[in-house]
């Protein structure tokens, strides 16, 4: 088991390195740089070229590419993201609050998705091929079809019409005022969670159907056990594994994947920051964000693999 863990953990490193190289190169291909983005727009259009060169030198943009990459890498291994090229603040400071927001939103959305998917999936499996089953299927496919930003707009519209509620302009962290924080984040979490429940609902249904055909379920039924007890004690446990996998993998992508929802609800999360930092050609910040999101994804993936191996010894030694 320990060897398996170490092997999987080591496999993350080359992937992360690949992500670093890819995003580094991609950003250098994007036309323009942070100095141009700052001075070539608006009133500063006639900045002298020398001044811009000095500015570039200050940011280290005059260095050859490999040197820039080496400097960045040297910082990364010490968990030092460096300074934002646009604001000059430490990137850790820039990201901190936004990371908290995006992580909380991702967690809440995942919770909503789980709370929808598991009961609905079980219901659909138990009532297979009845109108309930079809209704659940249509409900979940509809969730997959509706853009979460549109669902968000509708939610805001409904809240506005019925409660005169508008999304607040500033974000309240949960440690400042939990109630206000939850009131703010529950709506985007619902919009995103509904959408992401679709795949897990269907997974729950098919996993449950598969388990219900097993011999031990038939035995339990033949013994005269209550259906409820069979479902909760025998079937659910065995059907949960693939569902938990799907849910965690979706969660892994939610951290950086909520760009549009954040826009609708006026939340300054990681997604908005990413769009902003690309527009400003803020290389260091964009790189840090991508590394953060990719690491998060890979670590969650790793955790799922380990949990899988731990829960199901059959796959451990492959």
């Amino acid at each position: 088991m320990i060897r398996y863990i170490i092997k999987r953990l080591l496999a993350i490193i080359p992937t992360l390195f690949g992500v670093a190289v890819l995003i580094f190169l991609l950003l250098r291909v994007v036309p323009g740089d942070v100095v141009e983005a700052r001075y070539m727009s608006g009133e500063g259009q006639f900045q002298s070229q020398e001044l811009m060169q000095i500015e570039r030198k200050k940011l280290g943009l005059d260095q050859p590419l490999w040197k820039q990459f080496a400097t960045w890498m040297a910082g990364l291994v010490r968990f030092d993201f460096g300074l934002s090229m646009w604001t000059g603040n430490p990137i850790t400071e820039e990201i901190k609050l936004r990371f908290a927001l995006s992580l909380q939103l991702a967690l809440m959305a995942t919770l909503v998705a789980t709370l929808l998917a598991i009961p609905l999936g079980i219901l659909a499996a138990v009532k297979q091929d009845t109108w309930i089953d079809y209704a659940v299927r249509v409900f979940s496919i509809a969730g997959l079809a509706m853009p979460s930003f549109w669902l968000g707009i509708l939610l805001i519209l409904a809240l506005l019409v019925f409660f005169h509620w508008l999304p607040p302009m500033v974000f309240t962290p949960i440690w400042v005022n939990p109630w206000e924080n939850l009131a703010q984040l529950i709506w985007p979490a619902l919009a995103v969670g509904y959408r992401y429940s679709a795949v897990s609902t269907r997974m729950m249904r098919s996993a449950m159907l598969e388990v219900l055909r097993e011999d031990y379920i038939r035995t339990a039924r033949a013994k005269g056990l209550w259906l409820k007890l069979i479902l909760s004690r025998h079937a659910l446990k065995n059907a949960m594994l693939p569902v938990l996998t799907i849910i965690s993998l979706e969660f892994a992508f939610l951290l950086g994947g909520l760009v549009v929802t954040e826009q609708v609800f006026n939340l300054n999360g990681l997604g908005m920051l990413f769009v902003e930092s690309i527009a400003r050609r803020d290389y260091t910040l964009t790189q840090a964000l991508v590394m953060l999101v990719a690491t998060f994804y890979l670590v969650v993936n790793f955790a799922v693999d380990i949990a899988y191996a731990w829960l199901d010894p059959r796959i451990r030694y492959r």
Binding site: P14, T15, L16, G18, V19, L22, I23, L26, L27, V29, V30, P31, Q128, Y134, R137, V138, I141, A142, L144, A145, M146, P147, F149, W150, I153, L154, I156, L157, L160, V161, R202, R205, S206, L209, E210, F253, L255, G256, G257, V259, V260, Q263, V264, G271, F274, V275, I278, A279, V290, V293, A294, Y297, L298
Partner: protein, 299 residues
């Protein structure tokens, strides 16, 4: 499973019993009502896009400042937007944008992805390993982040958006197709082709690719809905198709949110169009997958 015809008469009878197109379609509707509904939505959308210039009551770009933000009525069935443009006409023309971007992105993504997948499986060994590791790198990016990065490099506009949406699809398609191609690589006909001295390109394109057609078709259909959704998201962010082109995501941007309370039709109808289109493609894709590949059947 039909019995293989033995005699000539049986062969002739089997021939005569071949169901025609009409009964195949009827059978599909009876056995997969949801899939048929999806197919219907897809057909309606394609027809709408093809005949947009006949169907649309107004020019989708024509502004009418006398009728700004007017509510749905007999003249403007779905109302007008902040520039007095007819919402219905813009939705009808928007189906062109959605279909073009969706089809373009799925086609490019599926083609590139399946070529990489088949080649990776065919060559195996070190090539396969390297390709897989590179795909892993792409997998670590959330779809929208990758698409945004490509838009940043190429710029906005329909053509670039197609490439931006196709990019995250390539590794996903490659992975699925590679899995199918691995099984096919061991088939006798591939061995035979190799023994006959055919080149790599001929074996990959002529012998292996046609035999993984089903998974490619399934992936491409599944991508279509996702691509339409992604196009809408990018346009909504202002990083996709640009004004004044009629695109559904674009219609939800800016004024639609700003005037959501006083002019809700601007926010509701384009979103409905997106949802209906993606719903149709997803239903159709699901049923297609069930019909083409029983192994992947979602119970």
């Amino acid at each position: 499973m039909a019995v293989t015809p033995q005699t000539l008469e049986e062969l002739a009878r089997a021939e005569a019993q071949q169901p025609g197109w009409g009964s195949v379609i009827l059978d599909f509707i009876r056995r997969r009502p949801l899939g048929a509904l999806g197919a219907l939505i897809v057909v309606v959308m394609v027809v709408t896009a093809a005949t947009a210039n006949i169907l649309a009551p107004f020019d989708p770009l024509a502004t009418d400042y006398a009728a700004m933000l007017s509510a749905p009525d007999a003249r403007h069935w779905l109302g007008t937007d902040a520039f007095g443009r007819d919402v219905l006409s813009r939705i009808i023309y928007g189906s062109r944008t959605a279909l073009m971007v969706g089809l373009g992105a799925s086609l490019i993504g599926a083609t590139l992805g399946s070529l990489i997948g088949v080649a990776s499986a065919y060559f195996g060994g070190r090539v396969d390993l390297v390709v897989q590791r590179v795909m892993d790198v792409f997998f670590a990016f959330p779809v929208i982040i990758l698409a945004l990065a490509v838009v940043a490099i190429l710029g906005t506009g329909a053509g670039n958006v197609i490439l931006a949406i196709a990019t995250p699809m390539v590794p996903r398609c490659a992975r699925v197709v590679r899995a199918s191609a691995l099984a096919i690589r061991e088939m006798p006909y591939v061995d035979a082709a190799r023994a006959a001295g055919y080149g790599h390109r001929r074996i990959i394109l002529g012998h292996m690719l046609p035999n993984v057609g089903a998974p490619i078709l399934i992936m491409a259909t599944a991508f279509l809905g996702e691509a339409i959704l992604l196009e809408a998201s990018l346009s909504f962010l202002g990083l996709g198709v640009q004004e004044p082109t009629a695109a559904w995501g674009l219609m939800l941007r800016g004024a639609a949110v700003q005037f959501a309370e006083s002019a809700p039709w601007m926010a509701i109808f384009p979103g409905l169009a997106i949802s209906l289109a993606v719903f149709g493609f997803n239903l159709f894709g699901d049923s297609l997958r069930d019909a083409l590949d029983p192994r992947l059947r979602t119970q």
